[in-house]
Amino acid sequence: MADRLSPLEPVYRPGNHGNLAGGAGVVLGERQPGSIVQLAVWSGQERPALAVMLDVTGMRLPDGAGSGSAREDIAAFGFAPGRFLLVSEAEGLADRLRAALSEELGTVTDLSHGRTAFRIAGAKAEWVLAKLFAIDFALAAFPTGAGRSTSHHDIFAQIQRSGPEQFDLYVFRSFARSFWHTLCRAAEETGYEVR
């Protein structure tokens, strides 16, 4: 297995930071999943392509725009018409999907080296993210498992709610360090712990 290098390495400071008067409101961290894969499905082929995804990953996505599902070891969500992001702790997911998916159904792109994955968890996670992105983070509008594509200024982000108080963010790797600074600044008000 190759070493996983983080673009955040020079600025990643584990510990408690910011306003800790009420304790840390959120926990911030970088995840290093083994696979980040984009599945792009030709128009009209969603059902057979998602059946292949179910075979390969065991993930069944509910119908509807931006729907998804999250487990500890694997997560998937739709982020655009006919496009899905799959994130797995195991390496080699792109190869397994590519082997199973006919070219008649869609394409598989391995983004494992192109995205950096962040996790924000805690009672103030919605509050901190709402400072950065102009979308509704309330549980009723953004249910667990669902995904959203949005951007903070020109930094594009794909966001999945992986728990009632937990979000996973996928950002272009070249923007990751800058975005990490922004995320930490946004969390200073509530206090944050980096793990």
Binding site: A80, P81, A134, S149, D154
Partner: protein
């Protein structure tokens, strides 16, 4: 201004890129009709009222959408996937 993306729902205009007038029809690429090309490139109706236009949700799902927007009030009265329109156009006899 909020634009309703058919995939993502209501989003801020800052997530979108304007792609131009949605009323014009490009001449056949092999056409040498200079008047038709001139009209396609330059002529705009510039209405004070409802205007059909193409936007891309470039800061979101990246889909191209057809938006009907009132140029006086900025009220968006309709939005749909541009790909649906393209398919409908292709089915029309040429």
């Amino acid at each position: 201004m909020l634009i309703p993306c058919p995939y993502c729902g209501q989003r801020d205009v800052s997530e979108f890129t304007y792609q131009g007038d949605g009323n014009r029809t490009r001449p056949n690429p092999s056409s040498t009709d200079r008047a038709a090309w001139n009209a396609y490139v330059y002529d705009r109706t510039n209405p004070a009222g409802e205007h059909r236009e193409i936007w891309q949700h470039s800061g979101g799902c990246r889909a191209h959408i057809v938006v009907v927007r009132n140029t006086l009030t900025h009220a968006v009265v309709a939005s749909s996937m541009a790909r649906a329109r393209t398919r409908a156009d292709r089915r029309e006899p040429t």
